[in-house]
């Protein structure tokens, strides 16, 4: 029996976040299928198993525990849920299974010395926040122009929404803009008072740090209160079709962060041609190919496959790598533009180069804008914020974690 590279996918396809889950995991699986069609990674096929978590930490842990021992042992896991990720965080090093947290989770996990098995790939919340301020500054004609401006941070009142606060606060002090923090109680299906407050404050920009149904409501309520959507900048969890389509025209002009450039790419064409044309696609609705969540899933797939490839380079080509070895692969990832071009995804995601110190590997993002039908990138180049600042915060925070957990920070081999 040929060796298979088995990956655990505790996914969610029902419940409040089903729309995101089905797009993201659909993208991953589409890419896996594509790779397998062309013979796998150096002949090693990728296999995976899904388990419904309903975005619930307790069920997620059960899924992880169940999936991890199947098929000779999982070599990678991605729950796409902060709660589930935290629930299994402690177990990873013991089980020797790396976990990626693509675009979510605690930002300080990028410190591989403290979190050897955790990979917040591409970019973390802190770098995103820094990039957002940089973008807003650029829009004004330079970050120094932010002085005296008012920026509202409208956030999901949870750990997720509060995560960027240290960065935003530091930057507000540094650049002299006023930061107004307005929380929205989850799930955020009513935001009249917040938007009245915003209208009252007359801010120059609104950062929408939202998740789930909160986003559509925010945009709709902004419209209802006559607040220009052009002044709203969402996080990447507020920047998918799922967030804008239900608002109809209200989202026209609204922009959001992303780590994928919207558009069409050869890899997507291949997915269409080789999979969906033959009824092998994972999405129920082929129109969602290339949507934000789907592309995010494809990107995850690409990075993982490249990590497998890297690990195979080191530990033996054409052989299944173990979780430990794949961890090495993830830590020594170098997906540059050439590599991206080779897999048909050049420009779709930033180049990613990881190391023990930097499990994130990039920190570059783009801004996209909704034109009423689809997302369009409005920054031609990848934006990177004040990385020195985020690095400092990262060191402090992960050191505190290490102290609490009695971990001696060190790089794994």
């Amino acid at each position: 029996q040929p060796a298979e590279q088995y990956i655990a996918l505790p996914s969610y396809r029902v419940g409040p976040y089903a729309a995101g889950g089905s797009g993201f995991y659909g993208g991953i699986i589409d890419y896996f299928n594509l790779v397998n069609l062309s013979g796998g990674v150096n002949g090693v096929k990728i296999s995976w198993e899904e388990c419904e978590t309903e975005y619930n930490p307790s069920r997620g842990v059960e899924c992880y525990e169940r999936l991890k021992t199947r098929n000779g042992g999982a070599t990678l896991v991605e729950p796409l849920s902060t709660g589930v990720a935290y629930g299994i965080l402690d177990r990873l090093a013991v089980d020797k299974i790396p976990m990626t947290m693509i675009g979510y989770g605690r930002s300080d996990a990028a410190n591989g010395k403290v979190f050897p098995y955790v990979f917040p790939l591409i970019t973390s919340y802190w770098n995103q926040a820094a990039a957002m301020i940089k973008y807003l500054g650029d829009k004004e004609g330079g970050v120094d122009k932010l002085k005296g401006k008012k920026i509202v941070h409208l956030y999901h009142d949870s750990a997720f929404g509060k995560e960027p606060l240290p960065v935003l606060e530091a930057l507000s002090k540094q650049h002299g803009f006023e930061l107004i923090k307005i929380p929205v109680t989850p799930p955020g299906s009513e935001q009249q008072s917040q938007w009245l407050q915003i209208r009252q404050a007359r801010p120059d920009h609104v950062i929408l740090w939202g998740w789930g149904s909160m986003n559509a409501v925010a945009i709709k309520t902004a419209q209802r209160n006559g607040f220009p959507r052009e002044k709203i900048l969402g996080v990447w969890w507020a920047g998918s079709e799922e967030d804008t389509v239900p608002t109809g025209d209200a989202a026209k002009g609204y922009s959001a962060m992303t780590f994928n450039t919207p558009g069409n790419y050869p890899v997507l064409d291949e997915i269409r041609k080789k999979l969906y044309a033959n009824g092998k696609g994972n999405l129920a609705d082929a129109a969602r190919i290339g949507s934000v969540y789907h592309m995010r899933g494809v990107s995850a797939g690409i990075l993982w496959v490249e990590a497998i490839r890297a690990a195979q380079e080191k530990f033996g080509k054409g052989k299944r790598v173990t979780g430990e070895q794949l961890r090495w692969g993830l830590e020594n990832l170098n997906v540059d533009d050439a590599r991206l071009k080779a897999v048909g995804a050049f420009g779709m995601l930033p180049s990613v180069k990881t190391s023990c110190d930097d499990h994130e590997g990039s920190g570059a993002v783009k801004v996209q804008q909704w034109d009423g039908k689809k997302w369009n990138a409005i920054t031609p180049n990848w934006i990177v914020g004040d990385k020195a600042l985020t690095r400092k915060l990262l060191e402090e925070s992960s050191a505190a974690y290490a102290a609490e957990k009695k971990i001696t920070p060190a790089c794994l081999k």
């Binding site: 009142d157 109680t185 149904s213 409501v217 209802r224």
Partner: protein, 300 residues
């Protein structure tokens, strides 16, 4: 204090309250008729809205054709709920019935997503959710015209249902059922038929709520959560009162917005989640049966 802003907050709050009341009505309907707290109301709101847009999508028809189809589906749903879930549970402990509605909620949620998929959809009603120009120009007050329509619909619904309950013999029979299933059966009230009708009506109310909330927030799973907004309204207004639902809605809506805007910033904000509950709770300490709820009879 900026008085204009104050009024905006107040009016915005009142109108949000109307939206809550819309959902609360569905709860009152079922509670009055069976003494059961219908946990599945939120799921029904989602189901109704999703069915409507799903039908539009799948069959490619207009809203005006999809609506009657959805109405039919909701009626069918109501009838089957009575037949399959409630009938075997007549005269059982309230808490078991409550639990059954929870099971029902899961079932409906699964069914809705199975039939029409989990993706978020938009629902466009002929009326746009933008500030009313007229009010803006003449009174310099910002009110969405959509909200005004919602208030009208809600008022109409409450009035007609309140009349149903207070003026007809069915209304009286329903109150009897809520008091004592067994005795209601004994006097010949056709419990089954009444429940079937009521659940069908509750389905319709859910449809109205689903359309309005769906148009406002998009048709998505989170619609099931709007029930959480309706609960404080219910306890404040009283589980058994139609007018209570609307008055409670207005009070809750206005006061939660006031609290968020004027108290929120002092304590770090985000108090909208619990403030209505605490408010309703404090109120209950004064009147344990809510504003218009039926007095709880404790006698030996």
């Amino acid at each position: 204090m900026n008085i204009n802003f104050f009024f905006e907050v107040l009016i915005g709050g009142l109108l949000s309250g109307v939206m809550y009341a819309l959902v609360a009505i569905g709860f009152v309907l079922i509670y009055k008729a069976s003494g059961v707290f219908n946990f599945a109301q939120g799921a029904m709101v989602y189901f109704a809205a999703l069915t409507c847009v799903g039908v539009m999508d799948k069959l490619g028809v207009s809203l005006w054709i999809a609506l009657p189809i959805t109405v039919a589906v909701m009626i069918l749903l109501g009838l089957s709920i009575e037949r399959v879930v409630l009938r075997p549970l007549v005269n059982q402990p309230e808490i078991s019935l409550f639990m059954a509605t929870i099971g029902l909620a899961f079932f409906i949620e699964g069914l809705a997503q199975l039939a029409f998929g989990a993706q978020v959809r938009k629902l466009e009603l002929p009326i746009e959710d933008v500030p009313s120009q007229y009010l803006m120009d003449n009174y310099n007050i910002l009110v969405s015209q959509f909200d005004i329509m919602a208030a009208l619909v809600c008022g109409l619904l409450v009035t007609s249902l309140a009349l149903l309950f207070s003026k007809t013999k069915v209304g009286r029979a329903l109150r009897a059922v809520a008091d004592d299933h067994q005795a209601a059966l004994a006097v010949g009230i056709p419990l089954q038929r009444i429940w079937a009708v009521l659940w069908a009506v509750a389905g319709m109310v859910a449809l109205v709520a689903g359309m309005l909330w769906g148009a406002r927030n998009g048709v998505q799973f989170a619609l099931t959560f709007v029930a959480l907004k309706a609960l404080p309204v219910l306890i404040l207004g009283g589980f058994t009162s139609m007018p209570g639902a609307i008055v409670g809605g207005l009070i809750i809506g206005a006061s939660e917005k006031m609290a968020e805007v004027y108290i929120g910033p002092i304590v770090g904000g985000g108090i909208e989640g619990w403030f209505p509950y605490v408010l309703a709770l404090l109120f209950l300490l004064v009147r344990p049966e809510g504003l218009f709820g039926e007095k709880i009879i404790r006698r030996i």
